[in-house]
C-alpha cells in the first residue's frame, strides 16, 4: 500500500523510519511519530468503525483527546485493550487494531439496519421499549443489546503489565504545555518554585506546533522547543509528556496518568506500562487549551466531516492530507488558517463562511492566495455513506433562518469550525463556579474554590500575545509568593495574524422536505431531533435531558457536543445558555485504564500477607493455608490423600484423646500498663476486673455503646499495673482504636498506656488431656500441677533457655495451655513442643479443627459475635456485672434487648445424624409453608462433632431458651436442602466445663 495522502515533505514525523502495522487484518505503513489515525489517513482509510446506536459508518473527527469516533480495539504484545482512541495511540512496529461495534465487519455491518429503523429508536427508547414484558429483559433484550452495542472487548486474561503509583508534592502544577503552560512554567521555574509540567500528548508545545506565529524571532515550535529544553535542565522542574492530569480532587490533589510504554511495541524490562501520579500542589495553573466546536448540519457524522483544526494538525504535524477536495465550513477565522494550509500544500479548498462580510488579516491572506470563498454560505448536508462524496450547500439569509436554493458540489472532506470551547473540565472539577462568556459563546472558569487559576485559551483568551503576557505574569506571581524570589522574565516580541469576530451561528436549518439527521453527540448518536423529543416530553433540567437522551454521556464526555446541546436547549426553551447551565464535569477527563488506578495492589499484593514465625515449619509439614484477615493460617495439615474433612476430624479427635498444638500467634495482643489499668478494664469489659489478682487471667466480653458484643478474649494480670489483653484475630485493630478512643477522649484522667504487641509474641495453644504432660516436659522446673497452676492461672517459665509466658486458658474446652515467647523464638518453641510432645502423640491442628472443637463446646466466636448479637443472644449474660457501669450497659435495658422471646444461641443436630448442615441456612417451623417462610433463626457455624460422631451446628434462634428439644427444619435454598433437625443445648460436649479444670 502506498501512503497516497502523505505530503511529499513537512510534518514532525520521522520519515527515515517506516513502521508497519495492521488494521482489521490489512497491512499498512506509516512513519515514526504518527498516530494510528494519521497513519490510516495517510493510507486513505477513513472508515474506522460504526456508531453506537444506529451503526452508521464512522471515520475520524478530531486529532486528539476529543475524538468521538475513532475508537479501536488494540492488540499489543499478546494483550488486547478496548476503548483506545486512534487519534491518541502512537504508531509502533507491529501494532494491530480492529474496529469495534460492528459485526461481521466494518464494511458490512448487520447492525446498520438500525440506521433504517431510526424512526423507531428515538430518545429514551431503551426506557420506553424494553420495559415489558419483564421476563423478556434477561432472555431477549439484554443479550441482544449487549451484542449490538459496546465499544470493544475486555480481555479476561490476567494483565501481565505492571502499573505504578507515585506521590508528588510541588509548588506549582501546570496542566498542558501550550503557550500558556510553557510561559507560566518558565517564569515559575525561574523563581525557583518546584514545578510539575504535564503534557497529554507525546510532543510538547500544544497549538504552537500548528499555528503560524513568531515569538522572539523564532517560529512557535522553535520557541516551544527552546523553552522545553531549558526547563528539562532545571532541577526544580519535572516535565512529563504522555501525561494527562485527569482529575482535580479535594485540597489541591490532582491525579495524572503517565503512559510510559503504550507507544512501544513491548514494555521494557522493569518498566511499568503506566504510572499514576497523585500530585498535591500548592498552586495549579490550568493551561488545557480549547477544543474546536462543530457546526451542526445534515449527515454531519459522515466519514470525512471533521474539525478544521484537526485537518490542519494532520497536515502540520503528520504531513497528511485528510482530503484532496476539501470544503472548509466555518463561522470564524480559524477555518481560514486550515484553508491556507491546504493551499500551501497544493490543494484547492472552498471556504463556506456563514458570515456576510468578514474582514481581517487572515481573510485577506486567503483572498490573496486566490482561495475560493463563499460568504453567507452553509453546508446543508453531507452526501455519501462510507465517505463524503459531495456536499449540498446553500446561501443562508441574514437572519440565518432561510436557506437559498440547494446546490451540490463534489468534495472528499468537510472541515468544520464553529469556534472554540475552553477546556474547563479541571477547573470545574475543582469546584470553580464557571461563568458564561458571551463573547466566545462558552463557559469559562469563574470564582475559584481551590488554589487554581486558568490560563490562555482554557480561560477564553484566544490571542497569543495576551496569553503569553498573562501566563508569564501568573507564573511569576504565584511562585513569588511561595519562594520569595522575583526573577522577571523578559517578554518576547510576538507576531501573530489578527482575526475578527466569529458568527454565533451553530446549527444549519433543515431544507424543506428533508429530514436529515443532524448530530450533536457523535459518539452516542444523539441528534437534534432527540433533544427536541426530550423537551417535548417534558424534560427541562439539562441534567435530565442529558440522562434521557445520553447526550454527552459517551466516553468522550461530550467534549465536542456539550455546548451545541446547550445552545439547542436554550433555543427551544427560549432561554439564554447560562440560564440552562451546563452539566457537571467529573473525573476522569478522558478514560484511564483500570490497571493504572489499581496500581500494584493486584492479587497477592492487594493486601499485606502476615505470617507467624512458625510459618516455615507449617509449610514444611504440609499445612494447607487459609486467609484469616491478612494472616495466613494453617487450615489443616495434610497427611497422604486426606481431604479437609478427614484431616480436621483426625486433628480434632487427637486433641480430645491425646494432645494437639495450634499456632495462635494471630490473636490480637495489647499490652496495658499504668496505675489505672484495672479501672480501664473494669469500664471496657462487662464483668468485674478490680479484684483480679496478679498471676491470674480472666475471660472478658466488651460491648459497643449500642449494647452489641464487640469482642471477647482473656486478659491477664502480669504484675501490679501491667496487663496482657488478647482479642480475636479479626478485631485486633478495632479494639486497640476503641481503647485509645476512651483513653484519649472520654476518660483522659485515666493514667494508662496501651500498645499493640500482636507481632511481638508468638503463641502456641497446647490442648488435650495430655497437655499437662507436654507442659511439664517443656518446663521441668515449674510446678504445673492442677494445684500449683490452676485453671486461669498465669506464670512465667524457662523454655530451654527462652523466657516464656504460660497461660492456663482454653478455647477447645479441653485441659489446655497457651505458651507465648518473643516472636524470634517462636519457631524454636514450636519445635520443642513437637519434640517433647512426640511421646504423647502430639499433632499440630489447624483452624478447621480449632473451629470444630469450639463449636461442639458451644464457645462463641466471630460467626456469632457478628455485630448483631447481644450478650444474652450469646448466652454470655452471666458475665454482665450488676454492680458497676460499663461501656454499652445502658443499651441493654432498652425494650427490644429485654424481649422475652429474644434470639439465643442453641445447638442443632440433624435427626438422621448424618446430613451436614450448611452454614447460613435458615431455621423454619414448617418446610412446606408458602413463601416467604417465616425465619426463626440461622445457622452460624457447623462442624462434624468428633465427640458424638455426627454433624453439629450452632444457631441463633428466636426464643432459643424455650426451644431446646423442639424439632424444626433447616432450609438452604442455595444448596437446595431441607433437613429435619432437633434443637439441643449449645454446649454439646462437657456442658459442666469439667475438663478445663481437670
Amino acid at each position: 500500500m502506498t501512503q497516497s495522502f502523505r505530503l511529499k515533505s513537512g510534518g514532525l514525523i520521522n520519515r527515515d523510519k517506516k513502521i508497519s502495522f495492521r488494521f482489521n487484518g490489512k497491512k499498512y505503513f506509516g512513519y515514526e511519530g504518527d498516530t494510528l489515525a494519521s497513519a490510516l489517513i495517510a493510507n486513505g482509510v477513513h472508515l474506522i468503525g460504526r456508531s453506537f446506536k444506529y451503526h452508521r459508518p464512522r471515520g475520524f473527527f478530531g486529532a486528539g483527546v476529543d475524538e468521538p469516533y475513532a475508537i479501536v480495539q488494540l492488540y499489543r504484545n499478546g494483550e488486547t485493550e478496548p476503548n483506545i482512541k486512534a487519534t491518541e495511540q502512537e504508531l509502533f512496529e507491529g501494532l494491530e487494531a480492529k474496529s469495534v461495534n460492528c459485526w461481521p465487519s466494518v464494511n458490512f455491518d448487520v447492525g446498520a439496519i438500525n440506521n433504517f429503523l431510526k424512526i423507531f429508536l428515538p430518545a429514551g427508547f431503551y426506557y420506553k421499549t424494553f420495559m415489558w414484558p419483564k421476563s423478556f429483559w434477561y432472555k431477549i433484550y439484554e443479550p441482544f443489546i449487549r451484542k449490538a452495542a459496546g465499544l470493544g472487548t475486555v480481555s479476561i486474561k490476567h494483565d501481565k503489565e505492571r502499573y505504578e503509583h507515585k506521590y508528588e508534592y510541588c509548588d506549582v502544577l501546570i496542566t498542558g504545555s501550550g503557550p500558556s503552560g510553557l510561559a507560566s512554567a518558565y517564569s515559575a521555574a525561574k523563581n525557583g518554585a518546584k514545578v510539575v509540567l504535564a503534557e497529554d500528548k507525546s510532543r510538547f508545545g500544544g497549538t504552537l506546533l500548528t499555528s503560524d506565529v513568531n515569538i522572539g524571532n523564532q517560529s512557535g515550535k522553535e520557541w516551544a522547543d527552546s523553552i522545553v529544553s531549558e526547563l528539562k535542565e532545571m532541577s526544580n522542574v519535572t516535565i512529563k509528556n504522555r501525561s494527562q492530569v485527569f482529575g482535580y480532587y479535594d485540597h489541591n490533589m490532582l491525579v495524572m496518568s503517565e503512559r510510559i510504554s503504550d507507544h512501544l511495541p513491548k514494555t521494557k524490562k522493569y518498566h511499568p506500562k503506566q504510572r499514576l501520579w497523585y500530585i498535591r500542589a500548592k498552586e495549579v495553573l490550568i493551561s488545557s487549551g480549547s477544543i474546536e466546536r462543530p457546526i451542526v448540519f445534515g449527515n454531519n457524522d459522515t466519514p470525512g466531516v471533521m474539525l478544521s483544526s484537526a485537518a490542519k494538525e494532520y497536515m502540520k504535524v503528520y504531513g497528511v492530507l485528510v482530503g484532496k477536495k476539501p470544503i472548509v465550513f466555518t463561522n470564524n477565522d480559524s477555518g481560514y488558517e486550515t484553508a491556507i494550509e491546504f493551499k500551501k500544500n497544493g490543494v484547492d479548498p472552498i471556504i463556506l463562511d456563514t458570515r456576510k462580510e468578514p474582514q481581517s488579516e487572515i481573510i485577506d491572506e486567503a483572498k490573496n492566495m486566490n482561495i475560493n470563498i463563499k460568504n453567507s454560505y452553509v453546508v446543508v448536508a453531507a452526501q455519501g455513506y462510507k465517505k463524503v462524496k459531495s456536499a449540498d450547500i446553500a446561501k443562508i439569509s441574514d437572519d440565518k433562518e432561510k436557506l437559498g436554493s440547494v446546490e451540490n458540489i463534489k468534495c472528499d472532506c468537510i472541515c468544520v469550525s464553529g469556534f472554540w470551547t475552553p477546556t474547563i473540565h479541571l477547573a470545574s472539577q475543582s469546584g470553580n463556579k464557571t461563568k458564561f462568556n458571551e463573547k466566545i459563546d462558552a463557559f469559562v472558569p469563574g470564582t475559584s474554590k481551590q488554589n487554581e487559576k486558568t490560563l490562555g485559551a482554557a480561560n477564553g483568551i484566544y490571542t497569543l500575545e495576551e496569553t503569553l503576557k498573562d501566563s508569564f505574569e501568573k507564573g511569576n506571581q504565584l511562585s513569588k509568593e511561595i519562594t520569595n524570589n522575583d526573577n522577571k522574565v523578559s517578554f518576547p516580541n510576538v507576531v501573530e495574524k489578527k482575526s475578527t469576530v466569529h458568527d454565533k451561528f451553530w446549527c444549519v436549518p433543515l431544507p424543506k422536505g428533508k429530514n436529515y439527521k443532524r448530530f450533536l453527540d457523535f459518539q452516542n448518536d444523539v441528534a437534534v431531533s432527540d433533544i427536541e423529543i426530550a423537551l417535548k416530553e417534558g424534560y427541562r433540567s439539562i441534567e435530565h435531558v442529558k440522562r434521557y437522551t445520553t447526550l454527552g454521556m459517551a466516553t468522550d464526555q461530550g467534549k465536542t457536543s456539550n455546548l451545541n446541546g446547550l445552545q439547542l436547549v436554550s433555543k427551544i426553551e427560549n432561554k439564554v445558555v447560562p440560564a440552562v447551565g451546563h452539566t457537571t464535569f467529573r473525573p476522569p477527563y478522558s478514560p484511564v485504564s483500570i490497571g493504572a488506578i489499581v496500581g500494584r495492589e493486584v492479587g497477592k499484593h492487594s493486601k499485606p500477607t502476615r505470617k507467624s514465625p512458625m510459618h516455615s515449619w507449617h509449610e514444611k509439614n504440609n499445612a494447607v493455608f487459609v486467609d484469616a484477615g491478612v494472616w495466613l493460617r494453617p487450615r489443616y495439615y495434610k497427611r497422604g490423600e486426606e481431604n479437609l474433612f478427614e484431616a480436621s476430624k483426625r486433628e480434632a479427635k487427637n486433641v480430645r484423646t491425646n494432645v494437639g498444638v495450634c499456632d495462635v500467634t494471630t490473636l490480637g495482643k495489647i499490652d496495658i500498663k499504668g496505675p489505672d489499668a484495672a479501672e480501664l478494664l473494669n469500664r471496657v469489659y462487662t464483668n468485674a476486673w478490680l479484684k483480679l489478682p496478679v498471676g491470674k487471667a480472666r475471660y472478658g466480653v466488651m460491648l459497643r455503646e449500642d449494647g452489641i458484643v464487640m469482642d471477647d478474649g482473656t486478659t491477664t494480670r502480669i504484675s501490679e499495673n501491667h496487663y496482657h489483653m488478647t482479642t480475636t484475630t479479626a478485631q485486633a485493630a478495632n479494639v486497640l482504636s476503641h481503647l485509645e478512643y476512651y483513653l484519649q477522649l472520654v476518660w483522659p484522667e485515666l493514667n494508662v498506656n496501651v500498645v499493640s504487641t500482636t507481632e511481638q509474641w508468638a503463641g502456641a495453644a497446647i490442648a488435650g488431656p495430655k497437655s499437662r504432660d507436654v507442659l511439664q516436659k517443656l518446663f521441668p522446673n515449674s510446678d504445673v500441677s492442677n494445684e500449683g497452676f490452676p485453671f486461669m492461672g498465669y506464670m512465667e517459665g524457662d523454655l530451654f533457655g527462652v523466657k516464656a509466658r504460660i497461660f492456663r486458658i482454653s478455647f477447645s474446652g479441653e485441659l489446655a495451655y497457651e505458651v507465648n515467647v518473643q516472636s524470634d523464638n517462636g519457631k524454636f518453641m514450636w519445635e520443642k513442643i513437637m519434640e517433647v510432645g512426640k511421646e504423647f502423640k502430639i499433632q499440630p491442628y489447624g483452624t478447621e479443627a480449632l473451629s470444630t472443637l469450639r463449636i461442639e463446646m458451644g464457645h462463641v466466636a466471630g460467626s456469632e459475635l457478628d455485630g448483631r448479637t447481644t450478650p444474652y443472644d450469646n448466652s454470655l449474660e452471666g458475665l454482665l456485672s450488676k454492680k458497676k457501669d460499663f461501656i454499652g450497659k445502658r443499651s441493654l435495658s432498652r425494650e427490644a434487648f429485654m424481649a422475652n422471646d429474644r434470639q439465643k444461641i442453641v445447638g442443632v443436630v440433624p435427626l438422621d445424624k448424618k446430613t451436614s448442615i450448611p452454614e447460613g441456612s435458615h431455621l423454619v417451623k414448617d418446610s412446606n409453608a408458602p413463601l416467604p417462610n417465616p425465619k426463626l433463626g440461622y445457622i452460624s457455624a457447623s462442624c462434624w462433632s468428633v465427640e458424638h460422631n455426627n454433624p453439629f451446628s450452632l444457631a441463633i434462634l428466636k426464643d432459643g431458651k424455650n426451644m431446646i428439644g423442639k424439632k424444626l427444619f433447616v432450609m438452604s435454598p442455595l444448596k437446595n436442602k431441607v433437613i429435619p433437625v432437633e434443637i439441643v443445648s449449645s454446649h454439646y460436649v462437657d456442658p459442666k466445663g469439667e475438663r478445663v479444670r481437670s
Partner: protein
C-alpha cells in the same frame, strides 16, 4: 483526598486517618441515671450537618492520636484541627 493537619505530625494525606464521627458528642457519665431519649441521642442520633462540622479522626497510620477536625461537610474545607485534650469552642 483530604489533606489534614495532624496537630502532632503536620500535614498528612487522608489515607493515614480513619474517621470517627461527631466530635461534639459527650459520653454520659458512668453510673449516672439517664433517660432512654438521652441515651438514644448519645448512641444514635446525629445531625448530619451541611456545613461546618467538628469531627473526630484518628491518625491511625501515624501517631495513633485521636484529633478533632473542623471541616465543612459540603466543601471539605478544613478550618482547624485540635488535639484530643483541646476543647472545641463553638
Amino acid at each position: 483526598m483530604l489533606y489534614i493537619k495532624c496537630p502532632h505530625c503536620g500535614m498528612r494525606s487522608q489515607n493515614e486517618f480513619s474517621y470517627g464521627g461527631d466530635a461534639t458528642i459527650k459520653r454520659p457519665e458512668l453510673g449516672k441515671e439517664i433517660s432512654d431519649q438521652d441515651w438514644d441521642n448519645f448512641v444514635y442520633n446525629r445531625k448530619s450537618l451541611r456545613g461546618k462540622h467538628w469531627e473526630l479522626w484518628q491518625h491511625i497510620s501515624g501517631c495513633r492520636q485521636w484529633i478533632k477536625v473542623e471541616r465543612d461537610t459540603a466543601t471539605h474545607e478544613i478550618f482547624k484541627t485540635l488535639k484530643a485534650n483541646e476543647e472545641i469552642s463553638l
